[in-house]
Amino acid sequence: MKDSDKKQGKSVVNDDVLTYCLRLGDNAMVTSQRLSEWVRNSPTIELDIAFANIALDHVGQARMLYSYAGELEGKGRDEDSMAFLRDEREFGNVLLAELPNGDFAKSVLRLFFYSAWVLPLYEGLNQSNDERLAAIAGKAVLEVRYQLKHSAEWVVRLGDGTEESHKRISDALIELWQFVGELFEADEVENRLADAGIGVDPTSLKGAWDNTINDVFARANLTRPDDDWHLTGGRSGQHTEHMGYLLAEMQVLQRTYPGCEW
């Protein structure tokens, strides 16, 4: 291989890892934003604490991933530039993460779907050839394991609880199901990173996800919809109409007072 090819190869990998870190960071960031909305608004004080705690874990993950992305890019952008100064079309989170909270049933089910996906993802990344990603994932695994357990318990409570709670979570299931398929899609970036032993092939996560969902749904008296049609677009920055409002709120101070320290 010629030196120039090697360099080019390295920079392709570098760009891919950068894109990948931003996607993972955006998932954590947007999830944190939605969870924060629950704090002071949830059915019990204990749940306020749990939402704040899980939101805090996600801010922590976003900060590590954004900082690493900034270093890979090498243009002096830090974690805050990544969170507050990129536009909607540059965000690569999955659509599921950005949907409005809805009622408690919808939020809990979304957190459960997301956690059942991101746990095997981080477990896989913990074995990444990229040491930095592996370390970030190693820390996140512990946090995500708790949030999967917490959200699964609530899915069971709501599914099994009362007629009303069963109806609410069943309605949420129908609404959210169309956003599940996107989680397991791979694009060229993710395929190249999976081949290089750096990233995780999203299609490989489906089996673990199915097992978790089937097990919890059996206890919650919930039935999976059989329609697998789904919406997509998050990875390539084509979001739902909700995303602009989420970012407008989140970015307001950095956009209104450019270049300030806070």
């Binding site: 934003q33 704090v39 507050f84 609880g161």
Partner: protein, 321 residues
């Protein structure tokens, strides 16, 4: 001995016991008025932590940096935790958390009046940490030695976290005052709005404070409202100087004889009006709390129903075995 005489004797013993700095514990005999006073004070304190989540929670989704967002999330989470410890401490006196929360929702219980003011800018989050948490710490540190054991123990843990809250607030103000003119103005405006309500957090002047004398005797309270207020002001003035902010009190002046600051009289009419419900956010805060409680009812019922079904299933498995 008549019942009355017997009670009078027990009360005398109790008064002597706590006056000698001994701790009363949940199973000890205590005067009914002591119990009621503590339930009122501890539950008000718990409600204040919970209602206090609202003004700061208002900025959780708009915190201007990821570091600030993380700190604010941790702080609001701490406040919810403080509310829970305090409800537990109050429950040891025989009133359940459900009853206490219901008192709040019915408008029968009070919470700190400071939370009836709105958080209008990011600097308000800084001002609350700096001033409101400073005032809270001054009120709370003596409570770590309060005569009621469970309350004193809860306060030790709470005070540790409050001092972190105070520091983060002061640091927000410090960074704003190192920043642009717009940021400095934001900080000054927040100080202007939060100063007097913070000075009022110690309650009315000593001569107009109805509950003070017996709480001092019972070692629930150790310092008078005015003593604590003076400490707060003496501590805040040099801090404001470091920040480069001006405290909005034209009468504020160092008094060499007293070795303390003289200061102007807060607007007590406004204070009592806000206590009685006529503050900018009284209705909004309580309405929010009640709405959230009502909206969450179905989820709490579901959790109860599931727990009951589970225990019935376990019982029938057992009997089948």
């Amino acid at each position: 001995m008549t019942d009355e005489a017997r009670i009078a004797e027990l009360e005398k013993q109790f008064d002597d016991y706590v006056e000698a700095d001994n701790k009363a514990e949940p199973k000890d005999w205590m005067p009914e008025k002591y119990r009621k006073t503590l339930i009122r004070q501890i539950s008000q304190h718990a409600h204040s932590e919970i209602i206090g989540m609202q003004p700061e929670g208002n900025w959780l989704t708009r915190a201007p940096s990821l570091k600030r967002k993380a700190i604010l999330l941790a702080k609001v989470q701490d406040e919810a935790g403080h509310g829970l410890y305090l409800y537990s401490a109050a429950e040891t006196l025989g009133r359940s958390r459900d009853q206490l929360e219901d008192d709040l929702h019915q408008g029968k219980a009070k919470y700190s009046s400071i939370f009836n003011y709105p958080t209008l800018t990011w600097a308000d989050v800084g001002a609350i940490g700096w001033l409101v948490d400073s005032a809270a710490i001054l009120n709370q540190i003596p409570l770590c030695r309060c005569s009621y054991g469970p309350y004193a123990r809860a306060m030790i843990r709470i005070c540790k976290e409050e001092s972190f809250h105070q520091r983060q607030g002061y640091e927000i103000m410090l960074v704003l005052n190192r920043g642009t003119d717009a940021q400095k103005q934001m900080a000054q405006d927040a100080l202007n709005r939060w100063w007097w309500p913070s000075v009022q957090m110690f309650g009315p002047p000593d001569e107009a404070s109805p509950n003070s004398s017996h709480t001092m005797k019972w070692r629930i309270k150790r310092f008078s409202n005015d003593e604590l207020r003076q400490r707060f002001i003496d501590q805040a003035v040099p801090q404001a100087d470091v920040l480069g902010l001006k405290i909005p009190d034209p009468d504020l002046k160092w008094n060499d004889d007293r070795q303390a600051y003289d200061f102007g009289a807060p607007d007590w009419d406004e204070f009592f009006a806000v206590v009685k419900g006529k503050g900018p956010m009284n209705k909004a805060r309580l309405d929010h709390k009640v709405r959230v409680w009502d909206d969450g009812g179905w989820a709490r019922e579901a959790a109860m129903a599931h727990a009951e079904k589970e225990s019935a299933r376990r019982a029938s498995q057992k009997s089948a075995a």
